[in-house]
Symmetry: none
Subunit: 411 residues, 2 copies
Amino acid sequence: MAHDPVSAAVRQLVTKNDTKIVLLVMDGVGGMRTLEHPTSELEEARTPNLDKWARRGSLGRVLPAARGITVGSGPGHLALFGYNPLLPEHEIGRGVLEVAGIDFAMPAGAVAARGNFATLDASGNIVDRRAGRLATEEAKPVLAKMQAAVAAPIDGVTVRVLPVKEYRFALVFEGPGLGAELYDTDPQKTGVPSLEPRARRDTPENARMVAVAAKAIALMRAAIKDEPKANGFNLRGFAQDPGLETFEQRFGLRAAAIATYPLYRGVARLCGMNVVETGTTIADEFRTLRQIWNDYDFFFLHVKKTDAMGEDGNRAGKIMIIEDTDRAMMALDELKPDVLVVTGDHSTPPPMKAHSFHPVPFLLASALCDIDAGQRFTEGECDKGSLGVFPSCEIMQLALGHAGRLLKFGS
Amino acid sequence: MAHDPVSAAVRQLVTKNDTKIVLLVMDGVGGMRTLEHPTSELEEARTPNLDKWARRGSLGRVLPAARGITVGSGPGHLALFGYNPLLPEHEIGRGVLEVAGIDFAMPAGAVAARGNFATLDASGNIVDRRAGRLATEEAKPVLAKMQAAVAAPIDGVTVRVLPVKEYRFALVFEGPGLGAELYDTDPQKTGVPSLEPRARRDTPENARMVAVAAKAIALMRAAIKDEPKANGFNLRGFAQDPGLETFEQRFGLRAAAIATYPLYRGVARLCGMNVVETGTTIADEFRTLRQIWNDYDFFFLHVKKTDAMGEDGNRAGKIMIIEDTDRAMMALDELKPDVLVVTGDHSTPPPMKAHSFHPVPFLLASALCDIDAGQRFTEGECDKGSLGVFPSCEIMQLALGHAGRLLKFGS
């Protein structure tokens, strides 16, 4: 497997001990200070626990992918987990990310594709690429008809039709000898029919997948042809599990993922983490952390709503979620992780109502920290930290170093 | 074309909109605070306009090539334009840089070489490798004789003899099927004759170039054999246009270059920028910026004299140029660029009287800036910024991000 020299060195130096590492990800936590509003949510929030860890820790800022680049949640988390998301071997295809996002574990060798319902006219041309933004409930019976149409395996391949949300669904093709290098069937415009599945590269595996997809599409289309809105669909992002090295292989860590949203569980699963059951609140997640504390070396704990509030432009809401998280962090006083990392997968500044490219505040606390000038987990204090601005995919190696889990390089 | 993963990702994410980006380069602007003189020129200059942009912007420092490495103007500007100057595919050969420096546009496939006049003794051995530092005016008639000697094409190749400065000139060989992998004919010492042209690698194109060069050299030497000082010459840095991807291909930007010195126009031209006519002063350059404002997306504006003053060790002069630039920047209040970047291609600290490796102060202002603690465009305030220290070749992607010209990476 291709590796940059840093990852290769880290892998070679990894050793095991009985330390515990916690990676607390507050999704989209980074903010943006503006002339109109010169303080960020992290600055305004009352965060006695974060402050305490910041005072005894080292601070900096992390870049999810590279300067100026805004990442989605998939690449943002891959980077936090130590996998450079810009390397082709770490690419998670859209189809795989989509089924990861509905908590569906991809069988080995299976191919996933994302589906969008579309409305077709009498001659089969697309008139609406989102089928009138079909509601989730409306989609259910249509998906059931599609699943019934492909109940029998096609050329030895089982087809699963999985609901996602509104007009979106996913297909998973499970069977031997399948390739995933297929073009989308979505023509990306209206007034034309959907495209037929076609291989991007000429291999027996891709040809087999094209044949199976074509048959499945024909059966499913026939089954829904009389639907008023969802009488057609387009498939995008055919992909297979990228077969990432596991956390155990890469870092020698038994890793657990605690997340309330399926996408984050899905990405953690692709990295070989054990996804554990938890509740719906931040407090639930920390309770779960306490319950599984003795069973793992590494704990990824994901807080979703900081991002959601940022995307809504809801400053007060984002502050509230930060304060909720801070309160729940009291559990850590008792658990005493050897290394605590707090950061985000990207910034989501409320003024932008979107993910952004701004470097994300970063905090690492351990007994080996160089206590720097940064006193709080905020944008401004992280700028004063001793860690500088560095790529998110180097966080894991830094955490391993602080955990005493990396041998000396050379003598 | 070979690409690092970051450039590859950037290229894939580039999108277009109607934003305007200004890259203001103050050549050699970075200084050096010493124990004897603890303030830099940027700190001492009165710069109300720069201060204003700094207060509403984000600050940091940039590394032209890599830590500890001092760059020349060619690589320094390539980096600012987003081309990592350390990658072999971005190498601009000395010959090409030399003709770029006299505003000569290389024809496709042509080979350029730098020439140095030399004084030879009666037996043809070099006695002075700079021909007594021949003055520019003295060189002119000698160069005319050389051009006359190669007035007719040689094996279908046209040879142009171009004056540069003092004992320096350039040759451009234009014709089909030429290679440029030739050793210098400069033996780098006196008491021996010039070397014959010889290929570094055995290819038909290089062999053809060797043959043409040998004939041209013989004709030109014969024409100047009776000159008192400039009766010989050495050729160095045979090179072809590296065929860089253009700014338009790489970043989707219609780019204009405004520079008073030919070298900077030349490097910009190699990157596919449109080099526009301007006057001789900083105020002229900003007037030009105003005139062409509606015709381009990206504007490179180059201020030369900060570097010249630094190389002279002239602190007061450098302060004056910085203040002149600041005054001219008032034009920007009216033009309102969406993204303004101010930096240098390298540092030229007056105490060193030379280019240096010190990270260069960097300022980016846009509506999406995280307003950080840095309050002025100075070494000290840039150290307090939120952008950290980063490679100059990442400036373009940061500017594109701030201009909303990069799509989100992954979902």
